[in-house]
Every structure is written in structure tokens, then in C-alpha cells.
């Protein structure tokens, strides 16, 4: 297990380095002059010069690349040249909002999608199974921001139950919780259907395995067979998909953050790209990348904990 852990850790570090290199190159080749975009017509030549120097854009590309890596490795994500604040502080300011939104959406999707998938698998061909199949596919096909707008119209305008804006008074728990409901539902809706379909398919596969038949033959209850023996193995593909899906969730979060005017990393990155605010783009995207690979590392490790064959294969194979 330890060997597997270190091999995954090395891969993770390499992925982060690769992502950093790609990120740097992308911001270097993207068209648009950041001095012009950020400073606008008011900028004097001396300010433009200073601005370009502060961003390091007057340096050769290899120097900029070296500085970028050196800064990141020393824990410095740079300074937002517009506000003068550190990129870390900007990211930390909105990171909790993004994490809360993303994880609450995942939680809702799992808590709802897994039982629905199990029910559909154990009641194959029933009315609810058919309805679920239709609804799941419909929700998977509809983008989150469309769902967001419909939810706003229904729950905020027609029923007047929940607020429109996704962010309220800072530090007010109940206000924050109320404002989280619709953004969470918007992102989770697609995933509930997806997870339900995935769990259903995996469960049907597992329920046909010989060991399940054997368990039943031993006289174990259907509940124990389903939830203790079948579900554990059926969940493995779901866990893997959830890890990979985090990137997609963060992507969906951008649109949802815009629709609900909610603070978050997605909105920070979107605004920074529009303004060519490269230090903020690089810093914020890097945090997303690190989050993404760390969560996938955890997923991989939990995946291997659930299925010992994986860590044996990943560790270079075994004659057994």
C-alpha cells in the first residue's frame, strides 16, 4: 500500500509540474496586452512601463518561466497588480465559497443519486426505474446554468421561497445556507441523474456475479446482499468518476457563480482572463489544478482500499 501511495504521489507531483508549464505557456501566448486591458485609456506611458515590469512581461520568456516556478515553489503566487493584494489572499477569500458549493453539490448528488440507482437496479423495469431513466438522461443533457435560471424563476420569483443572489451577508450562517440551496441544486441536478445511472448499471452487473448468488444461497437477507456485498463493489466506478468529475463540477461552478452572482474561484478566473490579469489567472488556476489532483489522489487511494487488485496491479503486478 505504501509503495502504491508513493507511486501515486510522484505521478501527482509530475502532473502539477506539467500543469504549471502548460499554464505558463498558455498565458504567454494568449492574445491581448494586459497593460492596455487592465489600465485602459487613462494609463500614462510611465505607468504602463511600471505595470509591465511588475508583471515581469519585460523579461525574456525563460526568465519569466524560471521566476514563475521559483515563486510557486516558495509558496508565492504573486501580486495582483490592480489591487496590490497578494494572489493568495484573493484566492483564499473566495476558495471557501467554491469548496462549499462544489462539495455540497457532490454530497447532494451522492446522497440522492446512489439510493435512486440502487432502487432502480433492484426494481428493474418498474415504473420508477423507467421514470428515473428518462429524467436522468434529461438532466444530464441540460447545462447547469439553464437549470439555474429555471430554479430561480420557480423558487425565487414565482414561489418567492429562496433568494436570487447566491451570496449574502458575510458571517451569517443561515443567510449563507439559504443562498446555497439553489446554486447547489443547479450543479447537483446533472450529477444526480448521472450517478443514479452509473450506480444502477454497476449494481446490475455486480448482482449477477457468482459471489452474490453464493451469498443468497447461504441465506443472507436481500438487504445485506444488496447493501453490504453488492454496493461496495458497485461504488468503485462511481468513486472514480466523482474524482474526475470534480474538474467538470468546477467548470459548471463558473456559470452557476455568474448566474447567482456568487463569489468563487471560477468567477475570479473568468474575470482575470477577461482582463488579462496573468498573476491572478496563474495563481487561481494553479490552486484549482492542485485541488483537482489532490482529490484524485485521495480517490485513487480510496479506490485501491476498496479493491485490493488495483494496488497490486499499480505496484507493478504480482505473480499471485
Amino acid at each position: 500500500m505504501l509503495r502504491y501511495f508513493f507511486s501515486r504521489l510522484v505521478t501527482t507531483v509530475l502532473i502539477v509540474f506539467g500543469a504549471m508549464l502548460l499554464l505558463f505557456l498558455l498565458t504567454a501566448v494568449v492574445p491581448g496586452d494586459p497593460a492596455v486591458t487592465l489600465l485602459g485609456p487613462q494609463a500614462s506611458p510611465e505607468l504602463v512601463k511600471r505595470f509591465v515590469s511588475e508583471m515581469g512581461l519585460d523579461q525574456p520568456i525563460h526568465v519569466r518561466l524560471w521566476r514563475f516556478f521559483a515563486n510557486v515553489l516558495s509558496g508565492n503566487l504573486g501580486v495582483d497588480v490592480v489591487s496590490g493584494r497578494s494572489v493568495w489572499s484573493l484566492v483564499l477569500n473566495v476558495l471557501p465559497d467554491t469548496l462549499i458549493l462544489t462539495f455540497s453539490a457532490i454530497l447532494l448528488a451522492v446522497v440522492t443519486g446512489v439510493p435512486l440507482g440502487i432502487y432502480a437496479a433492484t426494481h428493474r423495469g418498474s415504473l420508477l426505474d423507467n421514470v428515473l431513466a428518462f429524467v436522468s438522461v434529461a438532466f444530464i443533457a441540460v447545462p447547469s446554468f439553464v437549470i439555474a435560471i429555471f430554479l430561480l424563476l420557480i423558487f425565487s420569483i414565482w414561489l418567492d421561497w429562496l433568494p436570487v443572489l447566491g451570496a449574502g451577508r458575510s458571517g451569517d450562517f443561515w443567510d449563507a445556507a439559504r443562498r446555497l440551496i439553489l446554486p447547489t441544486l443547479s450543479i447537483a441536478a446533472t450529477w444526480i441523474g448521472f450517478i443514479a445511472r452509473l450506480v444502477r448499471t454497476s449494481m446490475l452487473e455486480v448482482l449477477n456475479e457468482p459471489y452474490i448468488r453464493t451469498s443468497r444461497a447461504y441465506g443472507l437477507s436481500e438487504r445485506m446482499v444488496t447493501y453490504k456485498y453488492a454496493l461496495k463493489n458497485a461504488c468503485i466506478p462511481t468513486i472514480a468518476v466523482l474524482g474526475l468529475g470534480l474538474g467538470r463540477l468546477l467548470g459548471n461552478a463558473v456559470f452557476v457563480e455568474i448566474v447567482f452572482a456568487r463569489p468563487g474561484l471560477g468567477r475570479l478566473i473568468y474575470g482575470a482572463i477577461s482582463e488579462r490579469n496573468f498573476p491572478v489567472v496563474q495563481g487561481a488556476v494553479l490552486v484549482v489544478v492542485v485541488l483537482f489532483v489532490l482529490i484524485n489522489l485521495v480517490v485513487d487511494l480510496s479506490y485501491s482500499a476498496l479493491d485490493p487488485r488495483i494496488r497490486r496491479d499499480g505496484a507493478g503486478g504480482s505473480p499471485v
Binding site: 496590490g84 425565487s156 451570496a167 439559504r178
Partner: protein
């Protein structure tokens, strides 16, 4: 098979219902938190830097003008100046302005009484080269020709210019670059001053959070008249559709929208929708250095082939006023007799034939926003009728705003541009001088006579003579046929009936402290 509900399910159901009830009970709390005491306003760009010297746009500037005092400030809903922090401001010569501060004007957070030293510090940190490691101000140009500020007493001083300047009061003294900061606070707080500004004005910033907005509270130590509202909650909402829903649900009380975005709100009960002409100006420009467009007859043909009214109907639902010259009607020196070009296909074709321009293919650069996209589509159809093939190149902000810079700008053909204005002709005219070619003069139009008129008007203290110079400059622009003026836009104000919003005409510069209680 029987369905039974057990004790655990009942408890879970009750807990869920309780949670939902608790969540729903808080609904509307923000909107109802003391209407007429607190108002929530929407801004469409995030607040970034509330230090007047380093503000990043009108959104920051509007907070600055309610947090800081100036020697003089605009009257409510007017561009005319009145005394603010100063008891007296006197122009004693074309290059010297004397001021005397009112006593007892107190900065917030215990930074004491405002003095002439604070005024000197505030103006010189923007207008003069930075001292030591300080960052130069983006708005240095607002204090152009500033030589120094002399302190002659605790509350008195002299602003000394290197040469006369006509717009000193409108652009520098009376606007955001004239905001008076506390020297002690800036020196002590450093960069923190950009998020926790210390002023002596009607409001203080109690909370500023990126991507959320800010909360302004009435400054009890303010020496002037108390503003009508105790709190102004400034909400950053980028998306107009979300703004629409937030207005309907009562979460915000005031927003400025485009005509298209505001139209669905006209029939909503409890909202007032009014239109205000803007001083932002939009035009279709032509690169006078580009092959094909070098010939003035081609530019004249394009001007005659276009139908500005049709373009505006498509771009602004017909709600935006037509502009026929650079300066909108609200600005000093507006050329009211400027020609109103009517579409004339035959004449346009003749001009193109005379210029030997057949099968002309041009590219029109626009920002990827609906109004410009709609206008560009109309322009493409109109130009096709005279034999010009137009390719529309819609770009996002970063790429778009860099397109006219340096040598890249040489490749432009046609473009639709929008610039924000100020209540001063020279401020608006400055982007079209020869020195701006390769920066903001995307037409690459270099005319020494225009440059001379611009410089003369900038230093002309006599108002009538200045108007003459400014109109003469606009005539030169018209003669070049490099500009097809489109509109000075319209701002649509949407608000609750119990608010009377206030702004300097043009609605770029809001006056939060003058928002009044309506009917």
C-alpha cells in the same frame, strides 16, 4: 406488501421540514432590512481599489466620491460645482488657485481634522512623479500641468500650475482625482488604504469583499448634510438577467441597465423605469492608413452607405439617441449644427467607382456584446448593397482592446468603439490627437490642425473662445470622414419608487450621498 412509516422516518421528515422552514423564514430578510434606511444597488463591475489615486474605474470612483470630500464637488444631478471641503476656492491668476478649508472636517477612524497638508499630499501623489517606492497614479493625467501645492496655513494653500488649464476644476479639483485623503492614514495603512479607505465624506466603507461588493454606512462625523440613507449595500452582479431577477425579488433596489435588459421590467409593479442620456460615445471608425481606406472617397462612401438610425434600432431597440458629432449635447462645445448624414446608395456607389474601389472586402472589429453584434450585422447588409463585403470580427474584451495598439493597429479596417466621457470637451477630444496613434487613436488619423485646436482649447480660459476651438476641431473630424458617429447611448434606471437616485448627468458618476427618499 405494506408501506409503513416508522418512528425514525417521522423524525427525519420533521427535521427536514424544520430545516426548510427555518431557511424559508429568513427569506426576504435582506430586502426588508429597513427599507428607506438601507438600499441595495447593483454594480456590474467588481470593486477593486478604493484609493482615489489607484481606482480602476467609475465603480471604484463612485464609492470614492461618497467616502472622501473634495474642495468642490458636483451639485446633485448636475455637473455644476459647489463648495465641499473648501470654504473658498479662488482662481487668482490663470496658473494659481487659492483655497481655504472649512474648519472641523474630521477623518474617520480617529485620523483627526483635515488640513491643507492633506490637500497637498492628495493632489501631489496623483499629479507629481511618485516619491521613493510609491506607485504612480493611473490618473496622473487628471492633474496635468500641476507644479505644486503650497501650504500657506493649517487650512489654506495654493495650487500652482505650470501653464493655464481650462478643465482644472471639472477634471481635477471637482472630480475623483480631487478627493482629499488623510496623509496620516495613507502613510500608516499603505496598501490597506485601498480596501479600508479613510475619508471625511458622508459615508464610510464598513465592509468590502471581492466579488460581493461593499457596505457603506453613514459617517456620523461628516460635517456636511446627512445623506438620506443610513446604509448603501453595493452588490456586484455581472449578469443582467440575474439583475432582472434580483430587482423583481426585491433583493436590490436600484440598477442601471441597457435598454434591452430593462425592457422586460417596464411592466413589473413596484419598479420605476426611466431613461437618461449617457455621455459615453459610440462610433464606427475607419483606419485612414489602411490600403483601400486611405482614399477619402471610400470613407465617404461607407459613411453614406450606412444608415445610423437602422443600426441604432437594431443595437439599442431604437432607444439610444443618435450622435452626429464627437461631443454629446450635454458637453460644452457640442456642435449642434453637425451634418446628419442620410443613406444615399447611389452617391456611395459613385464615390467608390470614382476611387476605383471594386469588390472591396473589409473587416469590422467589434466587442462581443449584443448591441455591437446587432449593429454590425446591419452594417454588413447595408454595405453589401454598395458592393462592399464586410466580415464581422467579434472579439472578447482582452483581445479587442489590444487590437488598435502599436503596429497591430495598422491591420485594422473598420471598428466600432465606445469610450466613456467626462464633462469636459478636452477629456473627450484627447484620444484623437496625433500622439495617440498606436494607442487609442485607432483611426490613425493625424491632423496637425486638430492637435493645435486641442492644445489651444485645453489652455483657453475664455469659455466662448474655447467653444469655437472645440467646434472647429469637430469640423475637422467630420471632414476626414474617418468617423461615423452612432450614439451617446442611453442608461435605463430601474429602481423602487421610494428612491430618487442621483448622478452627474451622463450616469457614469453616481452620487450615493445624494440619493433621496422618493414618493
Amino acid at each position: 406488501m405494506t408501506n409503513t412509516i416508522n418512528r425514525r422516518e417521522i423524525m427525519a421528515g420533521a427535521a427536514t421540514a424544520g430545516l426548510l422552514g427555518a431557511l424559508a423564514s429568513g427569506q426576504g430578510a435582506f430586502a426588508q432590512a429597513g427599507p428607506r434606511k438601507t438600499i441595495a444597488v447593483r454594480i456590474d463591475r467588481d470593486l477593486t481599489n478604493l484609493d482615489p489615486a489607484h481606482r480602476t474605474g467609475a465603480w471604484d470612483g463612485n464609492v470614492c466620491r461618497s467616502v472622501f470630500q473634495r474642495l468642490m464637488k458636483q451639485k446633485p444631478n448636475s455637473a455644476e460645482l459647489e463648495l465641499d471641503a473648501a470654504a473658498e476656492v479662488k482662481q487668482v491668476s490663470p496658473t494659481v488657485v487659492e483655497f481655504r478649508l472649512k474648519p472641523g472636517q474630521i477623518f474617520s477612524d480617529g485620523y483627526g481634522e483635515m488640513t491643507a497638508e492633506d490637500v497637498k499630499f492628495s493632489f501631489e501623489r496623483i499629479g507629481l512623479p511618485p516619491v521613493g517606492d510609491a506607485k504612480p497614479s493611473t490618473y496622473k493625467g487628471d492633474w496635468v500641468n500641476l507644479d505644486k501645492v503650497e501650504v500657506t496655513g493649517p487650512l489654506t494653500g495654493r495650487i500652482i500650475l505650470t501653464k493655464p488649464r481650462a478643465n482644472l476644476f471639472d477634471i481635477a479639483i471637482g472630480d475623483v482625482s480631487g478627493c482629499i485623503v488623510s496623509k496620516k492614514a495613507v502613510e500608516k495603512l499603505g496598501g490597506e488604504h485601498s480596501v479600508k479607505p479613510v475619508g471625511s465624506g458622508p459615508y464610510i466603507v464598513t465592509n468590502l469583499e471581492r466579488q460581493r461588493g461593499a457596505l457603506l454606512k453613514r459617517h456620523e462625523g461628516y460635517a456636511g448634510p446627512k445623506p438620506a440613507y443610513e446604509e448603501i449595500a453595493i452588490r456586484y452582479i455581472g449578469d443582467p438577467r440575474t439583475t432582472d431577477l434580483a430587482l423583481r425579488s426585491g433583493e436590490i433596489d436600484f440598477a442601471v441597465l441597457s435598454p434591452q435588459a430593462a425592457d422586460p421590467l417596464r411592466s413589473v409593479a413596484g419598479l420605476v423605469v426611466t431613461e437618461q442620456p449617457s455621455i459615453a460615445y459610440v462610433w464606427l471608425g475607419m483606419n485612414t492608413e489602411k490600403e483601400g481606406l486611405k482614399d477619402i472617397r471610400v470613407r465617404q462612401a461607407i459613411r453614406l452607405a450606412l444608415d445610423v438610425d437602422q443600426m441604432l434600432a437594431a443595437g439599442y431597440n431604437g432607444k439610444a439617441p443618435r450622435l452626429n458629432t464627437l461631443l454629446p449635447p450635454q458637453i460644452l462645445g457640442h456642435w449642434k449644427d453637425a451634418p446628419v448624414y442620410k443613406r444615399n446608395v447611389a452617391e456611395a456607389k459613385k464615390l467608390l467607382a470614382d476611387a476605383g474601389a471594386s469588390n472591396l472586402k473589409l473587416k469590422l472589429l467589434i466587442l462581443n456584446q449584443p448591441a455591437y453584434q446587432n449593429m454590425a450585422l446591419v452594417a454588413r447588409a447595408l454595405l453589401a448593397e454598395v458592393g462592399i463585403t464586410l466580415e464581422v470580427d467579434a472579439q472578447e474584451g482582452g483581445t479587442y482592446w489590444s487590437s488598435g495598439k502599436g503596429d497591430t493597429g495598422k491591420n485594422l479596417d473598420l471598428f466600432i468603439l465606445r469610450f466613456n466621457g467626462k464633462h469636459d470637451p478636452n477629456f473627450i477630444m484627447q484620444w484623437f490627437v496625433s500622439g495617440q496613434v498606436g494607442d487609442w487613436n485607432w483611426e490613425r488619423w493625424a491632423n496637425p490642425d486638430y492637435d493645435a485646436l486641442f492644445t489651444k482649447a485645453a489652455g483657453e480660459i475664455d469659455k466662448d473662445k474655447r467653444i469655437e476651438d472645440v467646434i472647429a476641431a469637430q469640423k475637422l473630424m467630420d471632414k476626414s470622414a474617418a468617423f461615423v458617429w452612432l450614439t451617446n447611448e442611453v442608461n435605463v434606471l430601474v429602481h423602487r419608487p421610494w428612491i430618487k437616485p442621483a448622478a452627474v448627468p451622463g450616469w457614469l458618476d453616481w452620487q450615493y450621498d445624494s440619493f433621496a427618499v422618493g414618493a
